[in-house]
Amino acid sequence: MSMAPTLTGMTAPQLALRLFAEAGEATYAAYVIPAGHAADAIEELRDELGSFPGIAVAVLRPASCAELLRELAGTTADAILIDAARFARPEWLQLDRRRSALARAAVLVFATTPDGFGELMQAAPNFASWIGALAFAYEDPARQQSELRARRLEALRAWAGKSDDDVVREAREGRLPADPEYAEWLVLLGRADLMDPQPT
């Protein structure tokens, strides 16, 4: 028999959009992130959630459940991202018992590892029921960005009938037209410097 199916994948912007729709009510979510990537992913999510008007975001990094509850008591943001990567079974057990102390009209996102989430599901069934269907696996948008960049360069080459080298050479020689398409082309090649007046 195969292993259990994975969680639905979601990039930080996609998750932020979903959570923004839930803002204002008691919402509990889990974001499952590979070990070692939690800090970056949380910052990414903080950035995305904070981009919406009227959403104040806080990040907590508690070492224990008790520390979390103490810090939560003093936090009043609309969205609270909790780095729970260090939480193991005892923390989830305690969180389940103290679930009532979490209650608030805000979005709480627990960022944890795959193993940590597995422990949550086994040790904290009451809290897990509050999460409902809001559990997702982190997806890195870097690959999509890279593909998009490649597609745009391809489209620019087809439009102009030129190569990247042609464009760079013409820009150096001051012969590159000033169309916005060429500006984008130079940026995607990392040669925005060639938009500056070139020495003759």
């Binding site: 199916p5 994975t6 008691a26 009532s100 009451n126 269907a133």
Partner: protein, 399 residues
């Protein structure tokens, strides 16, 4: 004038979604939902409890039910119904776990919380002395748990318990809380003939020995004082050797999950619950029916699935929850619900899925019930099934 300016009342989809979302609120405060959304199940547990307490206000009741089955809602319903049945009964709802780690419950802890809850209901300066005593008793209990209080905030006394706790010490702990509580009862007696306390939160206790001790001391002491008690207890109290705890109560009540596959009445009830919250222009009857079946009769899961389907409709740009939105909600929920399981547990689930057979002989088996991977129905007979959201996912693993 542009076309846009001519149509200033263009509806905001996000606001429309949020209005429905606020009514669903699976993780929200049940008390807030009572007034607008509560629908009583036929033969609801709350009706039986309220009727029994009205006849015998100092009786004790144990309420057990699975996660998300609506126990807190039923307690609040008891509170409302008792108030209508007899205005001489003062009813207090108390979540014991809210300000205290229930893994560290000691004899007297419940009694002192009941005393404090009662004190906050009673007017007058003459009870101030009693409240001070209760707070000293409480802090003595809680002073072991430094995480709960900042030393500079309270009159902090460090209590170092001995290694052995004699039976006399246990009795003494309860008595320390009971003395001020009895004084408060006397004050409450000027306006009410009886006090009933609804104790929530202990369903999450895993230490059955500690739970048994609380029942034997605190609950017994409360009932002996003439206070009616409804206590929400751990699910495991109805299985195996722990069943003896049930006999310490005058009545045992089970808050069931609703057998959506075999109970037309149950299906109708859940459709009504959802329809009270989700207007027709957001979900047609087919969508409602699909959500009811996917919930497995677990009320909280019903609301969570509906919420997920609603957000899919918003994000998908459609005006109504349809087949696609329900399917996505079920898939996302089910994937989450299967996380953390070991191969042996998956095998048990496959057996329940294909044969309906489930015999809980181990802690792992009980955990499958407590985590709602296996649902137990007690309609006319006991029946087991896997949670509907994991059914198809399990089937795909088995190929």
């Amino acid at each position: 004038m542009t076309a846009t300016a001519a149509n200033p009342a263009r509806k905001d989809r996000l606001e429309r979604y949020r209005t429905v979302r606020a009514r669903l609120d699976p993780a929200g405060d049940p008390a807030a939902a009572m007034a607008s959304s509560y629908i009583a199940l036929p033969h609801a547990v709350s009706q039986r409890i309220a009727a029994e307490l009205a006849l015998s206000p100092a009786s004790s009741h144990l309420l057990i039910g699975g996660v998300g089955s609506g126990k807190t809602t039923e307690l609040l319903a008891v509170q409302g119904q008792l108030a209508e049945l007899d205005d001489q009964i003062l009813v207090l709802y108390l979540d014991v776990s809210k300000h205290h780690d229930i893994a560290r419950m000691v004899p007297g802890a419940i009694a002192v919380q009941v005393g404090l809850a009662l004190a906050y209901q009673l007017p007058g300066d003459d009870i101030r002395v009693i409240v001070d005593e209760l707070e000293r008793v409480a802090h003595g209990y809680w002073s072991d748990y430094g995480a709960e209080h900042e030393p500079e905030d309270v009159d902090y006394r460090v209590h170092t318990p001995g290694i052995l706790i004699s039976p006399e010490q246990v009795e003494d702990s309860v008595l320390r809380a009971l003395i001020p509580l009895r004084q408060l009862l006397a004050v409450a007696g000027r306006s009410h003939a009886h006090l009933v306390v609804l104790l929530d939160g202990l369903d999450r206790m895993s230490d059955m020995a500690a739970f048994d001790q609380l029942v034997s001391h605190d609950i017994k002491a409360l009932v002996d004082t003439g206070i009616g008690v409804v206590l929400v207890g751990p699910l495991r109290a109805q299985y195996g050797l722990d069943r003896t705890i049930v006999q310490r109560f005058d009545s045992f009540h089970h808050q069931p999950w609703i057998d959506v596959d075999q109970s037309p009445g149950g299906q109708a009830f859940l459709r009504k619950v959802l329809r009270r919250r989700v207007p027709e222009d957001m979900a047609g009857d087919d969508g409602i029916a699909a959500l009811v079946h996917a919930s497995g009769g677990v009320l909280r899961d019903l609301l969570a699935l509906a919420q997920a389907a609603c957000v899919e409709a918003y994000l998908g740009g459609v005006e109504q929850i349809g087949e696609r939105e329900v399917a996505v909600a079920i898939d996302t929920f089910g994937r989450k619900h299967l996380q953390g399981l070991r191969p042996a547990e998956l095998e048990v689930l496959q057996r329940v899925r294909t044969k309906g057979s489930f015999v809980h002989t181990s802690e792992d088996d009980l955990a499958l019930l407590m985590t709602r991977r296996v649902l137990e129905y007690r309609n006319h007979h006991v029946r087991h099934a896997v949670h509907p959201t994991i059914r198809d996912l399990l089937a795909s693993l088995d190929r």
